[in-house]
Amino acid sequence: MADARSDILARIREALQVKAPKPHFKAEETAGQPVKIAKPWLPDGGETTEASLLILAEQLAKLKAVLIRVPDETAAGQAVADLARSKAWKQVAYHGAPLVRPVAAALPCPAWEADASFEKQKLEGCDASITSCESIVAQLGSILVSSASSGGRALSILPHVHVVVARVDQVVPDLATAIALMQAVHGEKMPSMLSFITGPSRTGDIERILVLGAHGPKELYLVLVG
């Protein structure tokens, strides 16, 4: 008997002997010009940086994520320290990225770098995590984190609060641009996890009523520098 792989592939090839009609779709008519906006039928992501930032702010507000705009890194540290005080955080874990380290250093509570191997239980006990990100998608209010840019897989999902520190120039208009950028940066060596985070964790499983903080962070903050 043939192995399952050859068997299934043979069944597929046999099945596809008869063609199915192709759906109708006219691609963008670009007449040899590069496409200015990718997929112009999806939700708008803004044609200029200003427009994108406006859409981003609107999307994040609807998602119940908090956007904090600051002029420089010192102000970013200040803003996160204020947050830590007002929420009475006792312990914070962070990813040792250049943008995050000074913010973590300004915290009024103990903070540890979660980039080496760590105890899962210790991370579960943290009030908050601080990470960087790969890019931010204005169109949808999504933040792209990865196991490379955000200190592994658990740091951005296990603690109860997630703070992302990013530069304004990391904002891209739409998902297609974020994906193209991801491919350009990582090529064939993708981080083992890449995650588009769109607002704090949520569920509607009980009577379709929205509750934040189902399993992941209940609060999501994006500190945008610049």
């Binding site: 299934i8 112009p40 996890m193 009577e207």
Partner: protein, 463 residues
């Protein structure tokens, strides 16, 4: 009549008569309609987006063998292990073997309809493993010992009071009528289970051929935790989930969220490429993917209905279906409920046993309009009806259609037949005729007019 049909008719009749439950389901879906329309309005052209989504899936499904070979080669290059399963039994055996090989005890699962399809939990529990569903809805259904009601909203039919009672009974928590408090009870309970589990089992929404990544869509973060904390990650996926390029997700991810849940994007859309890599601080040691056929190739072999394999399991067709809203998800008796379930179940489990679902439709076409990848759902229900009639017509069907064809080809006979029919109609109402008597149980048949249309036409000025 097949067993499945008998059970279906009994359950559907019972549920359709439950006015409270129907009102509860309609209310639960009310918020979805509002949010879905708000999000759809943000698309600059929703119809073109549907065209693009449909083309992305068509391109992958109609080149499935090559794309699967490309995907698996890339998946393995990323450090993952691929397993192929022809049917449910093979898939279960593969997963049981992995669990035994890694000496596992506790298993945590995130939502995976394919695992419902192969009855994985039963098999794992029988083999002595502790298995916990981590998606809140699935967790509640597991405690209730009931199949999911809706493949996206598994416990949408359960009232908060019942959930509170369930948690008190199984988790020993104090009663509450707050959905927030109930969610937090589950959150606290499940957190430790992720930390302690040896294996995390997830599904996959998309398999990206170009990069060998799998994409998982969720809102709660339970799939993220399931794929982050246990030392082994097993993903289970149907072979049809392939897309050719990563760029296809730029269309499919937002549309899945908007059509399925009325969101711009679901909270977490995560791409996994292999187990923990050198230099990464956490993640599983092994990453296994089980690719399941289980009669999908049978559906693939039917070019007329092949597009049913484009389904991205958003659940939009259930949410708009008048039948689903009236009989509920459990009555279907299938893994996949609603219109898409009625279309594919006869292919997966046999047309003879499951064709009755093709008639559980008003053919209103709301499902086809709602489908983000343009599956021609309500016509496929008609195709299944036709195929069932061709495959195994009953004696009555054969006699009726032969007689109907004979009469329709002969105008004089047709006229005479009409006269006889009109004259004997009051008598026919009382006879236990197939179809007719079921229809008349809840409906009145109007009296026949004195004249047929042809007679009226002749008597008029036009005649």
């Amino acid at each position: 009549m097949s067993d499945a049909k008998q059970i279906f008719i009994k359950d559907a009749t019972l549920n359709a008569a439950d006015g409270d439950q129907r009102a509860f389901i309609r209310k639960a879906l009310g918020g979805y309609y509002v949010n879905r329309d708000l999000q759809k309005a943000r698309y600059r052209d929703w119809e073109r987006a549907r065209d693009a989504a449909s083309l992305a899936k068509w391109t992958a499904v109609n080149d499935l063998a090559n794309q699967l070979e490309k995907f698996t080669a890339n998946f393995e290059r990323n450090g993952g292990v691929v397993h192929w399963a022809r049917d449910s039994a093979e898939a279960r055996a593969i997963i049981l073997k992995i669990a035994a090989d890694v000496n596992a005890k506790a298993i945590v699962k995130s939502k995976c309809m394919t695992s419902e399809e192969i009855h994985l939990n039963d098999a794992l529990e029988k083999a002595g493993y502790g298995v916990v569903e981590s998606d809140l809805g699935e967790f509640i259904q597991q405690l209730r010992g009931e199949a999911p009601y809706h493949f996206v909203f598994p416990c949408m039919h359960v009232k908060r009071e019942a959930i509170s009672e369930l948690f008190t009974k199984h988790l020993g928590t104090a009663p509450t009528d707050s959905p927030e408090e109930l969610t937090m009870i589950a959150r606290r309970h499940l957190r430790q289970l992720y930390v302690d589990a040896d294996i995390g089992i997830t599904g996959a929404n998309f398999l990206v051929a170009e990069t060998g990544q799998i994409s998982i869509t969720e809102n709660e973060g339970n799939a993220r935790l399931t794929a982050a904390l246990p030392r082994i990650h097993i993903a289970l996926s149907g072979i049809e989930k392939v897309v050719n390029r990563l760029d296809d997700l730029a269309v499919l991810l937002p549309m899945l969220a908007t059509a399925g849940a009325g969101q711009p994007m679901t909270c977490y859309n995560t791409l996994y490429a292999g187990p923990r890599k050198p230099g990464e601080c956490d993640g599983p040691e092994q990453f296994h993917l089980v690719l399941l056929d289980n009669a999908r190739t049978r559906l693939l072999a039917d070019p007329e209905q092949r597009d049913a394999l484009h389904c991205i399991r958003c659940g939009a067709c259930l949410n708009v279906c008048p039948i689903f809203k009236n009989i509920g998800g459990l009555a279907y008796g299938t893994t996949y409920q609603g219109p898409i379930g009625s279309v594919i179940t006869p292919h997966l489990r046999g047309l003879k046993q499951w064709n009755h679902l093709s008639s559980a439709s008003s053919l209103c076409g709301a499902c086809t309009d709602a489908c983000p990848v343009r599956i021609d759902l309500h016509h496929h229900l008609l195709h299944n009806r036709r195929n069932a009639m061709k495959q195994s017509p009953s004696l009555f069907d054969r006699a009726f259609h032969a007689g109907f064809g004979f009469v329709m080809k002969r105008p004089t006979l047709f006229g005479l037949g009409g006269k006889v029919f009109r004259a004997t109609l009051p008598l026919l109402k009382k006879l236990p005729l197939p179809y007719m008597s079921a229809w008349l149980k809840t409906r009145d048949l109007p009296a026949a007019p004195a004249q047929s249309f042809r007679e009226q036409w002749k008597d008029s000025d036009h005649g």
